[in-house]
Amino acid sequence: MTGTGPDPAFLAVRGVTKRFGGLLAVNDATFDVGEGTITGLIGPNGAGKTTLFAVVAGFEKPTSGMVMLEGEDITGRKPHELARMGLARTFQIVQPFAGLTVRENIAVGAFLRVAKRSAALEVAEEVATQVGLADQLDKPAAALTVAGRKRLEVARALATRPKLLLLDEVLAGLNPSEVRDIVPVVQGIRASGITVLMIEHVMQAVMNLCSQVHVLAQGRIICSGTPAEVVAAPQVVEAYLGHGAAKRLQGATHA
């Protein structure tokens, strides 16, 4: 690095390592997320994706490495400070405020930017419409279906008016028609000017949504590229299917 001017990447993750005792969860991960893109982070179970998210969003301090948002070093900042800077996240295991209504849930996010209750409730309604929860505003969050809770996660995060949204497996556990319903919601978020970084297992959605994909396996970024590129990359196939799988697959198609 020459050190002049900010890093061109909107979000830059540089050599992030996270160690839990003897477990190396993330190992020297480096990748970029371009402004205005939907970028995917994929990888087999246990690859360290959620840990990496937790580091970026301030929930875990990295053992080493650096995270930069718009050229500013945000490594180790607290989650609420990052939220204020415009970085919002959802949780893989949904975390609704179960005792509150959908409206009140979303309003908590909105209160980050507005001080008045009426204004926060207005934002809640607006965001609920955006993610397709408008008809469930007065339901208790605990009464929502899995798909509804995933939407609620997204809605709360959106209500904080983020610049960068981290989505942790919002499509996991949904049936194909529910997935088809949420894909346009994510596209709409990008269209409204929010950069999206998503962890996802549902490849159909990744292929549809992401312009750039990073593949994490055993804590390392093993491949970056367009969805078509990474799916074809031998090291990615092997990460999912085991050593030698790429060769065998190739052999099978050529035979």
Binding site: F59, H80, A83, F91, V108, T160
Partner: protein, 313 residues
């Protein structure tokens, strides 16, 4: 505006009591219940809305009470500024205890134990210190004059206590509708999610415990002005910590009227059993225990909830 009406209705109805009842026993009961309701409303801000269950609100009650008394007795201050200072000191104690406990991330039963420990330390210190009158206690000189925050009529004192409780109810309602209130409830429901939405969890908890301590401290100051006598086991005794948490839990924690309702129900039951069972000491505490077990055993864990359930069934 609609939400303010029940509070005003309560204030008017309760305010009529001294005009209708002459019995000192009844008025005494009402004043005492109002003082407990105020202490409990303080607990409710932190415990009911914020989910941080304190077992040591005596620390705030006692500080409010002692500062009110000591400033008058030892420093010759007028009762009103002394009472105000009592609230201020209680708030400060709340802030300090909150800072120590919340900064180190204490939650749930750990937080409860630490608050209990603080209250006990205060009790022991107050029992030994000269300033507080030690084990002999401290006596505020009887000068029944409104200028001294003392009133010849119990009914007048009831109105004063009622005014403070009404203010506390309005303040609770305002909190419920404020940004702080929403963030506080979010912290209660799920701390990690609240953080992710930009809630500064530590700051929110500190604000809540400071407000909570101030309100319970006001109840302490009121107690001092009504009974004009304090010792360490009254001011910092476990009884008030228990009363302050029992009333909201029974009446509905995290609701505007829960603490008042709980205080009325508990003390109503307590007094009724005392007059029926006569001279069995501590019989009212037995009743408190039974009510608590019933309420906690059967969801939704407060009396209004039980009634709602009954209606739906």
């Amino acid at each position: 505006m609609k939400a303010v009406l029940p509070i005003l209705a309560f204030a008017v109805l309760m305010g009529l009591a001294p005009l209708m009842v002459a019995s000192n026993v009844v008025l005494n009961f009402l004043v005492f219940t109002l003082i407990i309701a105020l202490a409990a409303q303080g607990w409710n801000l932190l415990g009911g809305y914020g989910g941080q269950y304190s077992f040591g609100h005596a620390a705030f009650f006692g500080t409010g009470a002692y500062v009110t008394a000591i400033l008058q007795v030892r420093y010759g201050m007028n009762a009103y500024p002394a009472f105000t200072a009592g609230i201020g000191f209680a708030a400060l104690v709340g802030l300090v205890i909150g800072f120590l406990a919340f900064r180190s991330g204490l939650r749930g039963s750990y937080f409860a134990l630490v608050t209990l420990a603080f209250a006990e330390v205060f009790r022991v210190l107050a029992n030994a210190a000269e300033m507080t009158g030690g084990a002999a206690g401290i006596l505020i000189r009887l000068q029944a004059n409104p200028a001294n925050f003392q009133f010849a009529e119990r009914g007048t004192f009831l109105w004063v206590a009622l005014a403070l409780v009404t203010l506390a109810l309005l303040a609770t309602l305002a909190l419920e509708r404020s940004r702080l209130g929403a963030q506080l409830v979010a912290v209660r429901e799920n701390e990690a999610a609240a953080q992710a939405l930009g809630v500064d969890v530590l700051a929110v908890k500190l604000r809540a415990i400071t407000l909570s301590a101030a309100m319970t401290g006001a109840a302490g100051g009121l107690y001092a002005q009504y009974f004009l006598y304090l010792d360490a086991n009254i001011a910092y005794g476990t009884w008030i910590s228990v009363e302050a948490l029992l009333a909201p839990i029974v009446g509905g924690a995290g609701t505007v009227f829960g603490p008042v309702l709980g205080a009325v129900i508990l003390h109503g039951l307590g007094e009724a059993t005392k007059s029926l069972a006569g001279s069995i000491p501590g019989i009212d505490l037995v009743i408190f225990g039974i009510v608590l077990i019933l309420v906690v055993r059967f969801p939704p864990r407060d009396l209004p909830g039980l009634l709602r359930l009954r209606r739906r069934a």
